[in-house]
Symmetry: C2
Subunit: 304 residues, 2 copies
């Protein structure tokens, strides 16, 4: 339960010796997820000793190479490892053609069900939901069609208040599940015992919002309200603000403005331009606006 986010790569543009393009591994409420998959991601997963066969869902924000050129290689490796579990790919329209063309020409059909969920909606939508989590898109503003993703834990069942339950002999073990689900208890004589007296609230749920790549886009704030972790790209500092319009990227200050307006718990910065050698400057700039700022770094783990 909870959230464990491992940063695999967090730099922009081209992969370099010590600067890997975007990829993140997210464990949320027992679900194993990969977010973006730049070239070399499968090697980074191995380096971090992540049991990547468990990944069932891969979310691709957009079709710039630094966010998906590692995907076809990872899928091929799953094939070579004789994976049998289904794999779901969520990404912009076109991603299916890119992957299947390469699998076809290399005569490397997968041994497992490979399911594509192509996105083209410009409004936020729920794209995956099960008992444990819910995933929605966060429409972003970039040079090509791009989505961020909001990952939310589903509320778990209420906890039994055993002290109060013990005082009601009519309540049996087989009634517990209905109580956990929030139902009142009706006694033989018709008296209703309110659920609030018999149970305690479920544990607090957590959420993670991934926003990359994007220009400053304040209209996403309502989607991000109160998330536990917000990863927001900060390709530039304010000294290069003139570049943000053409490239459709953000500064560290702009990322912090979004975090502040959305009242998130922690802001994580990343997608740094190779122009900058000292990443601390990103943190310093963001902290002028918002206090709880962390820097993404390859191998760093954020937990809640």
């Amino acid at each position: 339960m909870g959230i464990e986010l491992t940063i695999l790569g967090c730099h922009s543009a081209t992969p370099r010796t010590n600067a890997h393009p975007t990829a993140q591994y997210l464990k949320i409420n027992e679900r194993h997820i990969l977010i973006d998959c730049g070239e070399g991601t499968q090697v980074l997963l191995r380096q971090q000793k992540i049991p990547f066969a468990k990944i069932k869902h891969i979310f691709i924000s957009h079709l710039h190479g630094d966010h998906f050129f590692g995907l076809v290689g990872l899928i091929s490796t799953f094939g070579l490892l004789d994976r049998r579990t289904e794999l779901n790919i969520y990404g912009p329209k076109g991603i299916k053609e890119i992957i299947t063309l390469q699998l076809k020409l290399s005569k490397s059909w997968t041994s497992f069900p490979l399911l594509f969920h192509e996105l083209k909606n410009k409004e936020s939508e729920i794209i995956f939901e099960d008992k444990k989590i819910k995933v929605s898109t966060i429409p972003l503003n970039h040079r090509v069609y791009t989505n961020g993703f909001l990952f939310e834990e589903k509320p778990s069942l209420r906890k039994l208040n055993m002290e109060n339950i013990a005082m009601e002999p009519e309540i049996e073990i087989c009634d517990y599940h209905n109580l956990k689900k929030g139902k009142d208890f009706v006694k033989q004589d018709g008296t209703i015992l309110g659920n609030d007296d018999l149970t305690l609230p479920p544990r607090h749920t957590h959420s993670y919002a991934f926003c990359s790549d994007t220009a400053y886009k304040p209209d996403i704030v309502p989607l991000l309200k109160g998330v536990s972790f917000l990863y927001h790209e900060s390709t530039f500092l304010e000294d290069k603000k003139n570049l943000t319009e053409k490239t459709k990227h953000s500064t560290a200050k702009e990322a912090a403005l979004i975090a502040k307006a959305a009242q998130v718990k922690t802001l994580i910065l990343g997608h740094y331009s190779s122009r900058y050698n000292n990443l601390d400057e990103f943190k310093i700039e963001a902290k002028t606006v918002f206090d709880d700022v962390e820097l993404a770094e390859s191998g760093k783990v954020f937990k809640i």
Copy 2:
């Protein structure tokens, strides 16, 4: 002049932390060439400090991922680095569609001429030739359409024999070029001075043959006669010879049999299966057949 071959990656199948898929950088007679381009090749080029902007020709043997999944990323990086020089890609039919589809969907058209030379001939053919080098295909036997490549230096001009030339006052500096090209010299009185007396043979030319991936295929031997370096895949040792038929790969012994029959100078082994931890066993097995055997290793340079 001469040959300088840098091994970037030389392992089969999936990229791992210390095992990179096939890619080689070849300098031959002042030409800069990349052979195959597995995932992560651009990072290996940077690690080896190879001035990769100079590469004008990329040869792709076949469309299995471990031989070309790094190509689209390298091309994109050339674009980001604002390359202007043309880039030629030689590879199986289909490679153009794979690359252009991804460039189109990412709206990342290149700033330089990107020229595809798609191959489908099953016989050996010359696919590139200029003043300095000649490149021919070596049709191989693999699970998909595959070519090896033979890179040959073109003979340079003959050298002047200054001792003999000095004894012929009629020969002037402006005649030297014709002599270097092999022409005889005709004196005013009609006497012919033979070129053999006035010049010395040009330096010996060198050649490199790349053969990966392939099952044992003795009919390529005539194409490889006397090459300086032969890289021949050795995915397996003889203990796994039963796997070579289905997978269309070779053993180290089979690679050595090819080297011996073709009377090459040096055999370089590579494309090792991850089943084997001790690569020395490949060398030991090959040496039972052929003496001059080297092991490909990431970062190793072979020069002549």
